[in-house]
Amino acid sequence: MNGIKPSTSSQAATLSLDPEAMAPLETPWEEFLRIFQKDYQALFGFWVLMLLLATALAGKALTEWWILFDPEVVRLTDKFLPPFSVPSLDSLPTDRPFGGMYLMGTDELGRDVFARMFQGSFVSLSVGFVAVGISLSIGILLGGLAGYYGQVKLVFITVDTLIMRFTDAMMCFPVFFLILTAIALSTPSIYTIMVIIGIFGWMGTARFVRAEFLSLREQDFVTAAKALGIPERRIIFRHMVPNALAPVFVSAIIGVASAILTESSLSFLGFGVPPPYATWGNILSDGKAFVFDAPWLFFIPGIAIFVVVLAFNLVGEGLREALNPKLRMR
């Protein structure tokens, strides 16, 4: 690739076509890291999320596979104990908590709140991720189809109009109301909730993806790919989608946060995940009845949800700033 030969040695330094010399000073990834690391709030959010991920995995392992903290043991002798209290003398030795004391107290049935929160971290997080995964898949599929095949006519209506009108129709309804209706009218289970939250959240993603595809479609690399004879399915999913993903990624992160909040609102109204799964939303709404007698039952999950959702939002906003050059300070 070194076509041009420099004629003087000083020109050699400046005119070299050597790929290493022509490379930008920092790759896009390094640039992204540099900007992201300057944002203290986003960094804080990121580490909180890493901690949450570790906690969720540890929680799943330690409460269901190698049980160290059993969230389901009912100890009626130990009801409403405050955090850091030891089990009472009446409780069975086999029911004693790991470590000898209740880190976060007990609830109205004597269950260890720490164990329930530990288990609930995995469940809440998985509800968020699965719901967002579903809405991302639907959104990217519909947005991609509308953006790429937009002008193709099916019978009398273009694909773009069809998909976009359907999206607009779905956006007309108040989303929480629809979710509540769907869940109330079907058998409540954790999978129903995940699927339903996912099914009503794809509209924003579809619009983003379509907008990105509309601009990407005209770019040269797509034309080049078509000229090379690459099948269209591969062009869409292998070449265009990765370039369209930046706003989708940001809205996905914020979507997980909003899925967690939606799940806690559903639990508040009585339509949350049914037992045996304990989610933070469940613990919070069970605890609201005891806010004067046992405030830790209400505040601990509330503050936990707050910190986690805040972390997601901060990371999402940090990503948006780092990935979008137009938003940065001039």
């Binding site: 109301f177 769907a182 909040l261």
Partner: protein, 320 residues
């Protein structure tokens, strides 16, 4: 201009028809029916269930039920499944209850969000800016009912502000002045709680719009000409920054129904959100479908209004 408006209205009418189909089929496709509200009731004999199903046309195919619904809605005779009362007066009454809450919350949101956002943008990076940005992230991250319960505990305990429903029991015989003040007091906490999320989101949006405008070339020119800071910001930048928000006026309409189901439940406010919640619990299809449909109508009308306002205010849209 008229062309633009008529085209928009036409598109929206088509969308409205599609939306009515979606609203109708969605409810009927979900499992669960009015006759199943009380499945354990031993007195519900199969003949009664059959009678209920016949009265509500539940055995007919979907498109026939759709026609029944539209016909009853248009003639105003749509009856609720729960107590056979006409649906539209029910909705209207609850809507009037929700209205003061909505108006006060909207006023709070719009008057508090703009100064916060603008000041934050103008003094970007300063203490005020960073603390309000962090505060707005915090406020959208708190679960709504968590914050409301905290507010109830502190405010009622400390300041004695009433938080249950719309008026105090027994105030019917008091003087009008006391009655009015009582209503106003009851409005305060629910509307503040409803407004908080809106203020957080809107002030961030205002701030980012203002930042984008302040980085434009014409602002730099104005400063280079030596104009005062105040003139530059309020005379030149502000008008252009606020342009998109004129269109957001239109999007206020759907909020009327979007309805704080959660907040109305917490504060026992007898409004539209609570009506929809009760209807869902009772499998009251006509009420659910009608409220959904009205929400969709308001959304479409709202977006139409904002499109028109945008065209009026921004000549670039009109001339395309």
């Amino acid at each position: 201009m008229w062309n633009f408006i008529l085209r928009n209205i036409g598109q929206r009418l088509i969308l409205l028809i599609i939306v009515s189909f979606v609203a109708h089929s969605f409810i009927h496709l979900a499992p669960g029916e009015p006759s199943e509200v009380d499945p354990m009731n031993p007195r519900m004999k199969p003949e009664d269930i059959a009678k209920i199903r016949a009265a509500f046309h539940l055995d007919e195919p979907l498109h026939v039920q759709y026609v029944y619904w539209i016909r009853d809605l248009a003639s105003g005779e749509l009856k609720s499944f729960k107590d056979s009362q006409p649906v539209l007066p029910k909705i209207w009454k609850r809507f009037l209850n929700s209205l003061p809450l909505f108006i006060l919350a909207t006023i709070l949101v719009w008057t508090l969000a703009f100064p916060t956002g603008i000041y934050g943008a103008v003094y970007r990076g300063g203490v005020y800016d960073r603390s309000t940005v962090f505060l707005s992230y915090a406020l959208i991250s708190v679960p709504g009912f968590f914050l409301s319960y905290l507010a109830i505990m502190w405010v009622v305990g400390w300041l004695g502000v009433p938080v249950i429903s719309i008026k105090t029991f027994g105030m019917e015989h008091a003087e009008p002045a006391y009655k009015i003040m009582d209503r106003v007091w009851h409005l305060v906490i629910p509307s503040v709680m409803t407004a908080i999320g809106g203020i957080a989101v809107l002030s961030r949006y205002v701030r980012s719009q203002m930042l984008e405008v302040l980085s434009q070339d014409y602002v730099r020119t104005a400063k280079a000409k030596g104009l005062e800071e105040g003139t530059v910001i309020y005379g030149h930048a502000l008008g252009n920054a606020l342009l998109p928000f004129v269109t957001m006026f239109g999007l206020l309409l759907p909020g009327l129904i979007g309805g704080s189901i959660i907040f109305e439940q917490i504060f026992a406010w007898p409004g539209l959100g609570r009506l929809s919640y009760e209807a869902i619990l009772n499998r009251d299809f006509p009420v659910i479908m009608t409220i959904n449909f009205m929400a969709a109508i308001l959304t479409l009308a709202g977006t139409l209004l904002s499109d028109i306002l945008y065209a009026v205010v921004d000549p670039r849209i009109r001339l395309h």
